[in-house]
């Protein structure tokens, strides 16, 4: 019921029959399907980003005893759309002394990289654009594109605050990449596969068999490192408002700023989605009896819950200092990630 994969494969079958009956090579259909998948993923993500901006404002408001946006639409749901339209109309300012080409491409890199991770994201049963056999490695590789865009933005703006922000982000993201990747290996070892679909299916529809329980350490390390990777409080040093005004995006205005902004929210969604896939059973229902709820709803629910936790962090904690941040990554998270890896290895060796 409401499972989208059956609907989609049915559609595919009808259209491919039509292609065959008209003697058109099926490779064209495959190309069309790819385009359709890309368009669907981008549209869904843009909507998600718009929703997340509104959701974050609402959550922060309720944590802080406020109401948040209330005027545009019921409970302000249209607020982000209004903001995006406003940003579209803004003048696109390029500082005179900026490195124009790099300045232009930085938000594009951020924006595109944010979307690329979703190629291998299993949104639901059969709902995946491409099931790469190296799925999780691909995600780790793609998400580190962010650092390039932030460094580009920080450097090209020719602003000292932006440069400091860019440098901070480079140091931070590269450092946290290491414990993050190692913490993911635990789940990979348990599932015995790098493919996102295989990892989800290996976890099965019982919530106590999902990898958060055997990988509780890995889950924690991953979530903390990923928070740092996505530049969210308490690790939002690259754009620390009170120190660096706005950090790397200080000179950006209009739609370029909006691209950074939306990319940030998509990244927050990405890290939650990866955590859902690897540790919370992806689209699997918590109990087999709950399978009547479509798989993509389970995926969304778990991911949005993790996004909520991220936002909860953000509106509760102060910000770390740059050296404390580094200490935390190298002296605490990394050894812990190795311990987790060794323990998982022993566990797999003895219990399998």
């Amino acid at each position: 019921m409401f499972e989208l994969d059956g609907l989609l494969s049915g559609l595919y079958k009808i259209i491919s029959d039509w292609f065959i009956s008209h003697d058109i090579p099926v490779v064209w259909l495959d190309l069309l399907v790819m385009l359709f998948a890309a368009a669907a993923v981008i549209a869904a993500l843009l909507l998600t980003a718009l929703f997340l901006v509104w959701w974050e404002r609402k959550i922060s408001a309720h944590i802080q005893d406020r109401l948040g946006p209330m005027r545009t639409g019921p409970h302000g749901v249209l607020q982000t759309i209004a903001d995006a339209i406003k940003l579209l109309q803004k003048e696109d300012i390029v500082p005179d002394a900026a490195d124009k080409k790099v300045y232009f491409w930085a938000p594009v890199v951020a924006f595109v990289a944010a979307f690329l991770a979703y190629i291998v994201m299993p949104f639901g049963k059969g709902l995946i654009a491409r099931d790469l056999n190296i799925g999780i490695v691909y995600i780790v590789a793609i998400t580190s594109f962010t650092v390039i865009s932030l460094l580009m933005a920080g450097w090209a703006s020719n602003n000292k605050y932006a440069l400091l922000g860019g440098m901070r982000s480079a140091a931070q993201i590269v450092s946290y990449e290491v414990p993050l990747t190692i913490s993911l290996l635990g789940s990979v070892m348990l599932a015995g596969s790098l493919s996102m679909v295989d990892i989800v299916e290996a976890q099965g529809p019982y919530f106590w068999r999902w990898y958060w329980l055997p990988q509780i350490l890995g889950f924690g390390i991953y979530f903390v490192s990923a928070t740092a990777e996505a530049n969210r409080t308490p690790f939002d040093l690259p754009e620390a408002e009170q120190e660096l005004v706005a950090g790397f995006n200080i000179e950006y205005s209009g739609m370029k700023f909006a691209m950074f902004f939306l990319a940030e929210f998509i990244n927050a969604f990405t890290i939650s989605a990866v955590a859902t896939t690897l540790f919370l059973g992806g689209w699997q229902p918590p109990l087999p009896g709950l399978a009547f709820v479509p798989s993509w709803i389970w995926f969304l629910a778990k991911t949005l819950f993790l996004v909520f936790v991220l936002m909860w962090f953000r509106w509760t904690y102060p910000r770390l200092r740059v050296d404390q941040l580094m200490d935390f990554a190298w002296k605490f998270l990394l050894p812990l990630a190795f311990v987790n890896l060794v323990l998982t290895g022993l566990g797999v060796y003895f219990f399998n």
């Binding site: 400091l164 120190e243 102060p318 404390q324």
Partner: protein
């Protein structure tokens, strides 16, 4: 060849202009920072962006006309500014203030101290990246502003404490609302402590950062919570009691090491002490309707000079008045706490990171109109 290349690649100190428009300079302070990467190697504060020549204005106003200007010296704590001016002129002219008025003054000043510290708490936690305490602090401040509005009709620049007393009596519903506020506020302070005091990130950002040695603090004229954080119980309310402060029982919280956390905890404890003082003042509030001393329509204090100081939320605030017997003062010099406290910023922050500078600046609670006047 290698040498010249290395020379081209050498590290450079660079100047950053922090302010006058910057989210955490709390107004229009401008700091020229000499940075080596994230480290601060030199600080030059530039003040004067908010200079309104209030001291000169005083020479062209009668004593009563000048009172509203004192509101604008420290707009986060107008009541103490009013009180400092009023006590100085009363000392100069030998005016006896009715006791009820003194009690009302103490209540108002302590409420304003809480309100001012709340702004400090909010902005300092904002500087450290915690946004939520900021809105919590402003929520509580709102109640205090309602109390003030109920009393004098104003929410920011009160012009309530006048020479010789206060402008009007407190309304009948004030006491109940004030007591309810104190009761509620005590639990709120516990909330702030729960969210900040023992938070490991907060401790990491404040413990051992920006240590102010007592000797240096004395040399630079620091006062208020800034010097009390360096383990020196210097409080004018106790050292040179003015108004009716000698009738109240309260403690002077001090810190141990003089770091950011000590200055933070001093102010948090002052919240509780202010609550105690307000409760005692409400209990001991004398009956009657005398709230202002009988004074001539135009006040002409005898020739002479006077210095009088009070403990404002940010520290010692004093007025030095020279009178030549005219209806206008001959010269007024205002000693404000923020100016002395601001001077401690540069020696405290050298060698720390830019993120610490923001924390240290937040912890000394400087307000710029007070620095520039």
């Amino acid at each position: 060849m290698i040498d010249t290349e290395r020379q081209n690649l050498r590290d450079e100190e660079f100047l950053i202009n922090m302010g006058p428009q910057h989210p955490s300079t709390h107004g229009v302070l401008r700091l020229m920072l000499k940075m080596e990467g994230e480290f601060i190697r030199g600080i030059t504060p530039h003040v004067g962006y908010l200079h309104r020549s209030i001291e000169k204005i005083a020479e062209n106003r009668t004593y009563n006309q000048f009172t509203p200007f004192t509101d604008r010296i420290d707009y986060c704590a107008s009541m103490p500014s009013n009180l400092a001016w009023a006590t100085a002129v009363e000392k100069l002219a030998g005016i006896e203030v009715p006791e009820r008025a003194e009690y009302i003054r103490v209540i108002m000043v302590e409420l304003n101290r809480i309100a001012s510290h709340l702004i400090w708490l909010g902005t300092m936690s904002l500087d450290l990246g915690a946004v939520t305490p900021f809105l919590y602090a402003f929520r509580e401040r709102e109640w205090i502003l309602d109390l003030f509005e109920m009393t004098c009709g104003q929410r920011l620049t009160y012009h309530y404490i006048r020479i010789g007393g206060v402008s009007r009596d407190i309304p009948p519903e004030f006491e109940k609302s004030c007591r309810a506020f104190i009761k509620d506020f005590r639990t709120r302070v516990d909330d702030y402590e729960a969210i900040l005091t023992e938070n490991p990130i907060f401790l990491g950002r404040t413990r051992g950062i920006g240590i102010l040695p007592l000797g240096l603090a004395k040399d630079l004229g620091a006062s208020g919570p800034t010097i009390r954080g360096s383990n020196y119980p210097w409080d004018i309310r106790r050292a040179e009691p003015y108004s009716v402060y000698n009738k109240f029982d309260f403690e002077i919280p001090t810190g141990k090491n003089g770091d950011v956390w000590d200055r933070y905890i001093v102010r948090i404890r002052e919240f509780r002490q202010s609550c105690r003082i307000i409760e005692q003042a409400l209990d001991g509030l004398p009956e009657g309707d005398m709230i202002r001393a009988k004074m001539p329509a135009v006040l002409r204090p005898p020739a002479g000079e006077v210095f009088s100081r009070i403990e404002a939320p940010r520290g010692e605030m004093g007025y030095y008045i020279v009178s030549n017997g005219d209806k206008k003062p001959y010269r007024v010099k205002i000693r404000t706490a923020s100016y002395g406290n601001l001077q401690t910023l540069a020696p405290m922050s050298l060698g720390w990171k830019i993120a610490d500078l923001v924390a240290i600046f937040g912890s000394i609670d400087v307000i710029l109109p007070e620095v520039d006047r």
